[in-house]
């Protein structure tokens, strides 16, 4: 067959047959973890799309591999490479890892032949003239402006009819060339990026399109006298004829849906094309559609009814199952006629679905085609590879090629409502378009091996820096079981913020000081050990007098348990006044205590000093009250507050007065110090609006056990976007650790990792925005399917599996990708030797 396209102008494709096709690039609709009601909405949009298509059309779903350089470009964004060498090193290392992962994305393409009306004969004549002139080497006249205008109007009308959520855009000639090249290179992972709409809109001649050499059955691989076994050679060898490509051939097997299930197919659940990536195979699909109005279909049905009656007559008296088959056909015909009678707006969709798998050698492509047929068979669909028609089916997947007899033979019939239940234009993309490479999307299924995703899997990026520019919060919270990978995730995100030139403030409650160790592996951090301090956290010494006084009052009020309007509260307020502090040369909380005890004339000052000395004289109070310690240098990019040994009250102890009254000094101090740390972190992170800063609280309950801490974190999430600041939280239970509804609701990025406890899993799912009551299988997804233990150990390639909700509300499944530089990967791990060995 001749290359169909003779010229491409705008999104119009002129072909040898004289037919002009209009091409569009469509976006898939989000169809990941969704409630049934939302899925029904997506199905209805598909139905509207099918009803908008006139007559014949071709819908394509293509697996395009992601170029590692593009991934790195997304990681770099607008960063200045000279300002973040560590991030550049990570990006360089990512090139190789992404090459192995071979992530992909699905590109959706719609091509519709335009009806030329009265100009049809002219177009055919023009095509013939074109063909002859081209053969003779003579120049051909381009399409006339009038013709282009008329066809452009038709294409525009088509575009207007496509539901807006598909974000249909006219394909450019450059994109058409990309499509043709993709068909040639399928399975070789050589795809370039789909050219953007704004580039490559110049018209293309037919010679711009690749002209491959097609060999049905790959006969050229053997000698001329070799015996051909057609049944064993049901594939097509596609050889590029471009210079330099002589040694590379793509072996492609095309399969067509030959038989469909007879009965009713459930929705949701029957979205076979929408879920095709779950097969774990890289499959391109093409749907050759013919949409017909109900009046026309009713006539066809009438003819079918007459034929059916004739068949009853012909087969009367036959002793076989034939009559039973006729009965079933009659039932279906009656039902089909009733559907169309009851709804005059319903249309008939005849669809021939061709699927293509490909590889670099014939044996692999044979295996792939068997696997694909087996996957379809599990849903009662039968795929066929008709002998001798591989080339014909390859052409059938190309826009500009008329539907041939073979395609019509395999056409399956349903209504637009029925076809829409296949939800072919579905994606489960999550995340931002650039930023940190957070995870690989495993919505198709878990990773099969360290470098082997299940089917074409996109990558998930997290861009807290860009969130500020988009006026949304970039804060993130991770919820999961012990050892599920929360800390690893938070370290990855925090590490990338640091590497990208941002700053981090971390609270570390672990005995081993894992965050301090981790930060030490990345940079030269300032580590403040609360019980053995080398640096002071005295707010009067850290900040200017006005700010310091305000923070100090916030710290002392819960510590001393004084009411703001009580006598002690009023004294505290009076002495913590910037002017008062300056007048009495009070430069720190230590000197404040001394002042209250010896030099203050206010009534009750000595009592207040005595009360403060309860803490200032103790070891645990040194970090705030010891004037001999140097104040913490807040300009450091990484500050870790190591708070191991600090005791925190339980929530009940804070909420119930009788328990509160019995609370020990350690708990009172611990609670106030965490509130102070939160306050310091917020002030510091909010200081520079041009530099991203993150406050990392791995065990959020340490901060959120006090109302002050909850308020600080809530304010952080609420206002962070205005100050280029984010908070990264780790928790076991969102209901318990994020006690405020506002806090729970405001965190835009939510990650749920493995939870073996059912109730905690339910809490996490609800927080994520899913309803486990409506779909109880979601609970199993969290308790059994995320990072499952096999033989007492989670296999390395299953670690870090999670459900992710991004700032747009899209929910998907992913696997956190470790930092690519091994030393950083190891630094982030805390699971002992086995964990380190997995790095």
């Amino acid at each position: 067959m001749k290359m169909p396209t003779t010229a491409a102008v705008s999104n119009l494709r002129f072909t040898h047959s004289g037919q002009v096709w209009a091409d569009f690039v469509l976006q898939g609709l989000e169809y990941g973890l969704r409630a049934d009601k939302e899925k029904e909405g997506v199905r209805q949009l598909h139905q509207a799309l099918f009803r908008s298509l006139p007559g014949e059309s071709l819908l394509l779903g293509l697996c395009s591999t992601l170029d590692p350089h593009q991934v790195v470009e997304q990681m770099l964004g607008s960063l200045d490479p000279s300002s973040c060498p560590d991030w550049i090193a990570e990006c360089e290392a990512t090139l190789a890892s992404v090459e192995q992962l071979r992530p992909g994305q699905r590109i959706f393409w719609l091509s519709v032949p335009l009806s030329a009306g009265e100009g049809s004969a002219k177009l055919k004549l023009r095509a013939a003239e074109h063909s002859i002139f081209a053969r003779l080497g003579l120049p051909v006249s381009p399409p006339s402006p009038e013709l282009l205008q008329a066809l452009g109007r038709q294409a525009d009308q088509l575009l207007q009819g496509i539901p807006a959520p598909f974000r249909a855009a006219p394909a450019t000639p450059a994109q058409m060339v990309w499509l043709a090249q993709h068909m040639v290179d399928r399975g070789l992972f050589l795809d370039d990026l789909l050219p953007a709409a704004e580039e490559g809109n110049n018209p293309k001649r037919g010679c711009a399109f690749p002209t491959p050499a097609l060999d049905e059955g790959g006969t050229t691989d053997d000698g001329p006298r070799a015996v051909i076994h057609p049944l064993k050679r049901r594939y097509l060898k596609v050889q590029s004829t471009a210079p330099g490509d002589e040694d590379v051939a793509s072996y492609q097997a095309m399969l067509v849906v030959a038989n469909v299930p007879d009965g009713e197919i459930a929705f949701p659940g029957g979205e076979l094309i929408g879920r095709i990536d779950e097969s774990g195979l890289t499959v391109d699909w093409a749907m050759r559609l013919t949409v017909r109005a109900s009046e026309e279909v009713l006539r066809s049905n009438q003819r079918a009814l007459e034929t059916l009656n004739e068949q009853y007559n012909q087969r009367e008296g036959e002793v076989s199952h034939g009559l039973s088959a006729l009965d079933h056909a009659a039932e279906d015909l009656a039902e089909y006629a009733a559907v169309l009678e009851n709804n005059k707006l319903e249309v008939e969709c005849q669809v021939t679905t061709v699927l293509a798998v490909s590889a670099a050698d014939p044996d692999t492509v044979r295996e792939l085609s068997r696997a694909l047929a087996s996957w379809f068979a599990s849903s009662s669909y039968k795929l066929a590879q008709p002998v001798g028609y591989q080339e014909a089916m390859w052409w059938a997947m190309q826009p500009g090629v008329p539907t041939d007899q073979v395609m019509r033979e395999y056409a399956q019939i349903t209504t637009s409502q029925g076809l829409s239940a296949l939800v072919p234009l579905a994606t489960a993309n999550v995340g931002d378009t650039k930023g940190t490479l957070l995870a690989i999307n495993t919505n198709n299924g878990p990773m099969l091996d360290d470098d082997t995703p299940c089917g074409p899997s996109p990558l998930i990026f997290h861009d807290p820096d860009g969130a500020t520019d988009r006026n949304v919060s970039g804060s993130l919270a991770a919820v999961g079981d012990l050892g599920s990978g929360k800390s690893f995730l938070l370290k990855k995100v925090a590490g990338s913020i640091l590497d990208r030139g941002g700053r981090i403030i971390v609270t570390d409650r672990t005995e081993m000081g894992e965050w301090a160790q981790w930060a030490g592996a990345l940079t030269d951090p300032r580590i403040v050990n609360a019980l053995e301090p080398q640096w002071s956290l005295d707010p009067l010494r850290l900040f200017d007098p006005a700010t310091g006084a305000r923070v100090a009052q916030t710290f002392l009020t819960p510590l001393l348990d004084v009411q703001p309007t009580s006598e002690r509260g009023v004294i505290l307020s009076e002495v913590l006044d910037a002017e008062y502090l300056h007048r009495h040369q009070i430069t720190g909380l230590g000197s404040l205590v001394d002042h209250l005890a010896t030099a203050c004339d206010l009534d009750g000052a000595k009592d207040l000093a005595r009360l403060m000395r309860v803490f200032s004289k103790k070891d645990l109070g040194r970090v705030v009250f010891d004037s001999t310690l140097p104040p913490l240098d807040m300009r450091h990019p990484a500050i870790v507050f190591h708070t191991h040994g600090l005791v925190l009250p339980k929530r009940a102890e804070v909420e119930h007065e009788h328990l509160f009254r019995q609370m020990g000094l350690e708990k009172l101090f611990g609670r106030a110090l965490f509130a102070l740390i939160s306050s310091i972190a917020r002030l510091e992170c909010f200081q520079d609006r041009d530099r991203l800063a993150a406050f990392v609280v791995d065990e959020a309950h340490a901060v959120t056990s006090s109302p002050e801490g909850v308020n600080e974190i809530t304010d952080f999430v609420r206002d962070g976007r205005k100050h280029r600041a984010v908070v990264l939280l780790g928790s076991h239970d969102p209901d318990e650790d994020f006690p405020s509804e506002t806090l729970r609701g405001l965190i835009p990025w939510r990650v749920v990792m493995r939870h073996t406890d059912k109730q905690l899993a339910i809490n996490a799912l609800r927080w994520l925005g899913l309803d486990p009551d409506e779909d109880p299988t979601l609970i199993d997804k969290v308790t059994q399917e995320l990072s499952p233990e096999l033989g007492g150990l989670v296999p390395p390639h299953r670690r870090g599996e999670c459900l992710i909700r991004d700032s747009s509300g899209a929910i998907g499944r992913g696997r956190i990708l470790p930092p690519t530089i091994q030393s950083r990967d190891q630094a982030a791990r805390t699971g002992g030797r086995k964990d380190l060995a997995a790095a």
């Binding site: 807006a164 001649r205 037919g206 001329p224 051909i228 929705f267 008709p386 002998v387 073979v406």
Partner: protein
């Protein structure tokens, strides 16, 4: 959802003659009828080649081959597939070599594309004639963003979906 292919594409058989008489051994598929008639016609037209024996022998061969052709055609699975396409495909599968732009080539050479490809030159730059509408940006984005200004479904589309909405 449901597929209605079975309602319109069912195997068609011939079991009776136009006057209603039942055909012995029937019903037959169209292919069986075609195979039987075709075989009989071929045999009848080529008697000079094969009918060298006695009448009884010749009749037996004639009937045997015709019935054999009908029987073999009956062994093909009944269904909607056009058997002629299947036969044609089988012959196509025995073809050898490459096809480039509709032309056959036993093997590729360095100049294959130049020799067989078409290079079309337009007389006037087609850019001057293009009056396409301003395209909307099409970047395959990972992050979902709300659609453009248009509503999800136009009023007409809502009307078309009226029975559900």
């Amino acid at each position: 959802m449901k597929w209605y292919t079975r309602a319109r594409k069912f195997p068609q058989l011939i079991g009776r003659t136009p006057d209603g008489t039942r055909i012995p051994g029937g019903p037959y598929t169209y292919l069986q009828v075609a195979a039987g008639v075709g075989m009989a016609a071929v045999l009848a037209a080529t008697t000079g080649l094969w009918a060298r024996g006695a009448l009884l022998f010749n009749a037996t061969v004639f009937l045997g081959l015709t019935v054999g052709a009908v029987y073999l055609a009956g062994q093909l699975p009944p269904g909607m597939r056009n058997p002629l396409l299947g036969v044609a495909g089988f012959f196509r599968a025995f073809g050898r070599g490459y096809k480039i732009n509709g032309l056959s080539l036993p093997r590729l050479t360095r100049n294959s594309r130049t020799a067989l490809g078409l290079v079309t030159l337009f007389e006037v730059a087609a850019e001057e004639c293009a009056t396409e509408p301003e395209p909307e940006p099409v970047v395959v984005e990972i992050a979902p963003v709300p659609g453009p200004g248009r509503p999800a479904l136009s009023n007409v589309q809502r009307l078309l979906l009226g029975e559900q909405s």
